[in-house]
Symmetry: C3
Subunit: 338 residues, 3 copies
Amino acid sequence: MHTLTEIARRFALELRGSGDGVVRGVATLAAAGPDHIAFLANPAYRRQLAATGAAAVVLAARDADEARGTVLISANPYADFARIAALFEPHRAPAPGVHPGTVVADDAEIDASASIGPHCCIGARVRIGAGAEIGPGCIIGDDCEVGPATRLVARVTLVTRVRLGARVLVHPGAVLGADGFGLAFDGGAWLKVPQLGGVLVGDDCEIGANSTIDRGAIEDTVLEEDVRLDNQIQIGHNVRIGAHTAIAGCAAIAGSTRVGRHCLIGGGAGIIGHLEIADRVTVGAMSLVTHDLREPGEYVSGTPIQPKREWRRNAARFGQLDLLARRVRKLLGEVPDE
Amino acid sequence: MHTLTEIARRFALELRGSGDGVVRGVATLAAAGPDHIAFLANPAYRRQLAATGAAAVVLAARDADEARGTVLISANPYADFARIAALFEPHRAPAPGVHPGTVVADDAEIDASASIGPHCCIGARVRIGAGAEIGPGCIIGDDCEVGPATRLVARVTLVTRVRLGARVLVHPGAVLGADGFGLAFDGGAWLKVPQLGGVLVGDDCEIGANSTIDRGAIEDTVLEEDVRLDNQIQIGHNVRIGAHTAIAGCAAIAGSTRVGRHCLIGGGAGIIGHLEIADRVTVGAMSLVTHDLREPGEYVSGTPIQPKREWRRNAARFGQLDLLARRVRKLLGEVPDE
Amino acid sequence: MHTLTEIARRFALELRGSGDGVVRGVATLAAAGPDHIAFLANPAYRRQLAATGAAAVVLAARDADEARGTVLISANPYADFARIAALFEPHRAPAPGVHPGTVVADDAEIDASASIGPHCCIGARVRIGAGAEIGPGCIIGDDCEVGPATRLVARVTLVTRVRLGARVLVHPGAVLGADGFGLAFDGGAWLKVPQLGGVLVGDDCEIGANSTIDRGAIEDTVLEEDVRLDNQIQIGHNVRIGAHTAIAGCAAIAGSTRVGRHCLIGGGAGIIGHLEIADRVTVGAMSLVTHDLREPGEYVSGTPIQPKREWRRNAARFGQLDLLARRVRKLLGEVPDE
């Protein structure tokens, strides 16, 4: 419970209107009541400003005139809303200590301020830092490190040789450090290539539910600091992802590819192996990158969604597109008749 | 063990032929023996009718003449086969009670008729309804509800504020209620946006193995009743999916999109965020929806699979398709020479 | 610790140069030091040969002249490197026996040489073979079999009626034997079709992290021997995959499709249901197979990645490609004016 005046002061926002309102939570513009704070960042919702019942709205100066009630002026409304919303986040870190239903190797080093939930397994030579929070059902294999204030929400698996930095957040079902997909064909069958590297995750990274990050074949798979992965993402062995890159759900990056800093990879996108992607590259949803991208910018593959009847006719023509192009060249007199 | 006469009576099917056969299981037309019941729903298998060794075949009236043995006439052979097959389903609900190897918060309310397996974790203020079945290794976080006769098969995670209706079935590895992917870019780095909503799953929904449904940022992510999700599906925060919609494996729906009722979403399909999809829309496998679909019908994107040599020529032409089209317009005299 | 002479003798490789070097590990050509062995298989790295600091390099005879130091000549350098690297693999099988924190059904048969980790659940009538290794947190449901020397790394779920052969390796989060996605529409709602089959996995298969293999509706879902699945792969019910086929991450194969032997399926590729794919077919990354592929060879769908501005123009033309083609036919005088 916070007054608007307190919130404005705490986050250095300009308050226009009454600061007496008491806020008990956050809400959307459409649903907010008199004890909620709301925000406007996406212009598509500007038309909801006039009718909102919110105690106050966090918004940019340029939108302030359209609001009828109290506003909090922000240079980055979405970010300031995130800070305000965090006041109402109910998660509380559990008490320090190791739950009795957890199995810990003799030589694991667990900081006294860390918390380890029930049904966990902590392997040999594992080190867990100050204030780390290991939720229920996590498995931390041999030779892993968990940095200070890092949180494994629940049922996370660190297979082996995984080192997480500080303030990393890993969601349930994620598997880090499983074998990379290394196979040599020999004598009519597959021969497994040992995966001797590890996984290195920088400070402030986030890894979504059921995502997988394989450990390196020889050297490490690396996420630099502040890399953000959504759910069900697959990162192959020996990939390196630059700082501040964000990747949406179900994307996949194949082995040994290097992705730059400040990239945005769309949902379901794929990047094949052994490529170099420059800094500040954006890849569209479900696009497939098959060659190096050396310049910043936005890249897309695929075709537009269409009603099936139309799509079927166009797709059939795609299957003979080269022929069509050659016929046009012939019409233009550019090539001899074939 | 059931006689054909019993089965016909139980499911109100017309029996043609002898009803004395004793059935001990179900089988395909090709593999069925004299104590099996088989079915014909897909016309591709009609040619197997004559040679089947089944005790009887469930089929539509129009196919009855092609069968040689006993038939059970059905208006919906696949559905009636499903009902018959359920007679042979070996799953038996475990005895009620909480396994001693499970950790339960003091204030969790678990119906006396519910069953909780080993190695589970039940959080604060959780409520579990009558006849619910929580398999081994499930984690149910704070403030979750599990409705009556709902079953979590094994190793399901409900992170927090997840409410499941009645008769919901959730398969192993599914993660419901993890943080939505909400990030604000601020000061050169990502700032996490708290995810304060929950997940609401209606009655009779099914959620496949390793699927993920994020909780809402402010309001809830919602599946209406009888929504059916296959494996490895990703549902972003604040998505709403209408009743009776079925989604095939590996599809993904990004945040705040609303999918209508009675939709069919193909395997690996994607729908970007903040869209509206009408009722009774079908989306093709691996198609990407990038704008609202306001009319019922079938929609597709992509190109046909081709031998690589042909594909490569056509794909290269796609990369210059706009130029090709402008040249044709020029040939037609529609545009001035550029 | 091994001398080069020992390694050459052990793997029957021709040593050129000094055999006295002592090897303590493997490394890339670029990073190798004087106690590392490196390899050259991908010609893209040949230019790193001259400058490597490795004790020796495993390579093909044709590349030997470009190396400056000791080399080990191999007919298959990647495979021989894999064998050498295995000398340095730190994984050691745990001691036989069942961890006290595990729940085992009375009638499960566990070989005395098998090892079962903590927090596992072993169901009724389960059989676990000699030397099998069941890591922490695995759930093995009723009527499953685990063959000799098979390893479930950790947190693997075998739901029911799953039979794994010998030397199978399953990575964390994999779910085998969950219900196939079988639904009949009846009376305005979905009716679940019981999934009465199982999953059969041949010898020497590998199944990646968070992959899912559904059990069959009536008969079994089958992987023949030496099938290799990467992470996050979805295999629908009643699929059959031929021996020695390898499938890269995030690919999905829908129900009842049969994939041949020695196929290579690219990352994120999809194959719809009820198809037949011949032996020795290669499917490109993120390609969608929508019809039978009866001839060996490589198949691709999709369009090339492009800068968004170019892509947008071309994609718009794709949406009218049939019209364009008809105009060209008209220009060529092949069809009457429409």
